[in-house]
């Protein structure tokens, strides 16, 4: 046998060599000193790589100044791109099919029937237990072997919530788009996800279809009953039910002084990695895993840029906690947003490049500008936003931005490295913002220089 090449050694260390090759390699390195050394070196590289990559995990969100621009405005653009490449994706899927041996073929069957099947099972479970109750179907079913239902990690629950709200929004927008009134198949998704959550029933779908129970009248009835239950409960209490199943839930609502719900505010249990952000309706829900709900007092902190952070002491035990926050506007924080300038060195050098149209923008600071197109739905281009690093201009309230007035949010990214040196130029066709008194103001554009000045004044105005 020749000396081993590096790739083979790594494949061996990764457990990816076929048995025959593996045996040959193992026999070889016993005898060959250089190759044994190469294996030792490769081991070192594998371990060190893992260690180095782990250092990347401590990066918090929003560190890169324009990242939130990406998150707020890039999504629709990405979506458009995806449509164009769907053919390619199909090709990729075929490729996956041909190269991977473990294949989980999804039943292409009738979704409604699957739901009925799942519901039937859920219905049976409480009947078998000693105390059947309305809550029971929503409690997490115990892990069952045989299917790859993953462990219910409490940490990801708030993210699950966020995904759900996203799916809910998708569902609503789909419904609104379908003018003939016939709900598209998508409309089924969110309610189903809610009903099933967090039981792993969907993970057992293949199992169910192996012996599909006939959809009996009983089962249909169960589905109808549960659909009612879901539609009656408001989102907060529903969340609470779900939450209490896997840990201690903390729920509540975050509003401004004027009573308006604050979306995308962050709620964090200080000193832990437990946190979430509020939905469009200002509600939040997070879970403290049962193991960490030991009655120790911690700070629950609510934050949103442009508002003063509020912290309350809480001591999570087994009882669900509800806490509503009212955040006061903090215009001074917004003072770090510079809406008119372009530059990255010092505030003194800012101010020249007010961008009102594409020509101005491009010639002013071409290397700093990124262009994003905002859509209100999948296809309609509503306006084009030019933004500069340091400030993000994002479309808020995706689901409701269907009228002419776009609700845009201007956020200053305050980097830990340098708060003062961020700069921005933003030109938009129409812009709404909350001024320091909490009133919503709208400018339709393109914005004139005077309007931009007004905007700046409004953002910078000290609290009266």
């Amino acid at each position: 046998m020749q000396h081993l090449d590096e790739g083979t050694i790594h494949a061996w260390l990764d457990g990816e060599l076929p048995p025959a090759e593996r045996e040959a390699l193992e026999a070889h390195i016993v005898e060959c000193e250089p190759c044994a050394a190469a294996v030792a070196e490769a081991r070192g590289f594998v371990a060190a790589s893992t260690r180095i990559l782990t250092a990347l995990d401590s990066v918090p969100g929003g560190v890169l100044p324009a990242a939130s621009t990406g998150s707020g405005t890039a999504r629709p653009a990405v979506r458009r791109r995806f449509v164009a490449s769907r053919g390619w994706m199909a090709a990729a899927a075929v490729l996956v099919l041909s190269t991977v041996t473990v294949i989980a073929i999804r039943p292409g069957g009738d979704a409604a029937q699957l739901r009925v099947a799942a519901a039937t099972r859920d219905q049976k479970e409480p009947a078998a237990s000693a105390a059947p109750s309305e809550e029971k179907p929503q409690a997490p079913a115990p892990m069952q072997s045989g299917t790859a239902a993953p462990a219910d990690k409490p940490k990801s629950v708030d993210q699950t919530e966020r995904l759900k709200s996203r799916l809910e929004a998708e569902r609503q927008s789909t419904r609104m788009r379908s003018s003939n009134g016939a709900p598209p198949p998508m409309a089924n998704v969110a309610p189903r996800a809610r009903v099933a959550e967090p039981s792993a029933s969907m993970g057992r779908v293949p199992e169910q279809t192996a012996t599909p129970p006939a959809p009996s009248a009983f089962a249909k009835d169960a589905v109808a009953k549960r659909a009612d239950a879901v539609s009656l409960s408001d989102s907060t209490s529903e969340r609470r039910t779900v939450a209490s199943a896997s840990g201690v839930s903390i729920t509540g609502r975050i509003t401004s002084e004027a009573g308006a719900p604050l979306a995308s505010a962050s709620v964090l249990l200080e000193g832990t990695d437990i946190g979430t952000i509020t939905h469009d309706d200002g509600n939040y829900a997070l879970i403290v895993p049962a193991s960490r709900a030991n009655g120790q007092t911690k700070s629950l902190v609510a934050k949103l840029i442009g508002y003063r952070a509020v912290a309350v002491p809480i001591a999570p035990t087994s009882e669900p906690i509800t806490h509503d926050f009212v955040l006061r506007a903090n215009p001074l924080a917004l003072g770090q947003v510079v809406v008119t300038g372009a530059g990255t060195t010092s505030p003194e050098k800012l101010g020249a490049a007010i961008a009102l149209d594409s020509a101005t923008v491009d010639s002013a600071a071409p290397q700093l500008l990124s262009r994003n197109t905002i859509h209100t739905d999948g296809d309609t281009v509503v306006t084009t936003v030019y933004s500069v690093h340091g400030v993000s201009v994002s479309l808020i309230d995706h689901s409701r931005a269907r009228d002419e007035t776009l609700r845009l949010q201007i956020r200053g990214a305050v980097s830990e490295m340098s708060a003062k040196s961020h700069a921005a130029a933003a030109a938009v066709n129409s812009i709404s913002w909350s001024d320091s008194t909490g009133h919503t103001r709208t400018l339709r554009g393109p914005l004139s220089r005077e309007q931009l000045e007004q905007l700046k004044k409004s953002l910078f105005a000290p609290t009266p």
Binding site: A11, S49, S156
Partner: protein, 172 residues
């Protein structure tokens, strides 16, 4: 229609970590992960879930890649500027940030394909899944990973030595 709930539970953590390591921004990583799951919802059939999710996430990121390079340029400018200003850095946080910055630089120094292969491997994808997600042959993954790991470590060590030299100069 997919059981997105289950997919999300099974793969979200993995996907977010992968994307965070790749993009260097957790918010952004979560956005992309979320979008990936929304895609999964629309996807009719899916053979290998894990490879599919990573493929889609990769595609979503690729569109943003050009912006990313601009972001990095901007960050570098800020960093250089800040370096002149900071006199006595706070130790632990600063060291951790330094480690992260060096790791970031070393990872960014890899060619795209090596970087993705390595990050996916770290999330437990096997060679056939990585090959599928990157459109490569299974046989070439070992070599790719070997190269990626070697370069990553060597670059990281080089940066570390450079850093130590700088600190030595500052102290004297």
């Amino acid at each position: 229609m997919h059981d997105v709930d289950r997919l999300f539970r099974a793969y979200n953590e993995m996907l977010v970590r992968y994307l965070t390591r790749r993009l260097g921004d957790r918010d952004w990583a979560e956005e992309v992960a979320q979008e990936t799951f929304v895609r999964a919802l629309r996807q009719e059939t899916m053979t290998n879930e894990r490879a599919w999710l990573f493929t889609v996430a990769n595609n979503l990121v690729r569109d943003e890649a050009r912006k990313d390079s601009r972001r990095r340029k901007h960050l570098t400018m800020l960093y250089d500027e800040e370096k002149e200003r900071i006199v006595e850095p706070e130790e632990t946080a600063m060291e951790r940030a330094q480690d992260a910055a060096m790791a970031r630089a070393a990872v960014d120094g890899l060619v795209e394909r090596d970087r993705l292969a390595l990050l996916m491997k770290e999330e437990g994808l096997d060679y056939s899944e990585i090959a599928a997600a990157l459109g490569m042959s299974v046989g070439s993954i070992g070599t790719t990973l070997a190269r990626a790991r070697r370069r990553l470590v060597e670059e990281y060590e080089r940066l570390q030595q450079e850093q130590q030299r700088r600190e030595g100069n500052a102290a004297s």
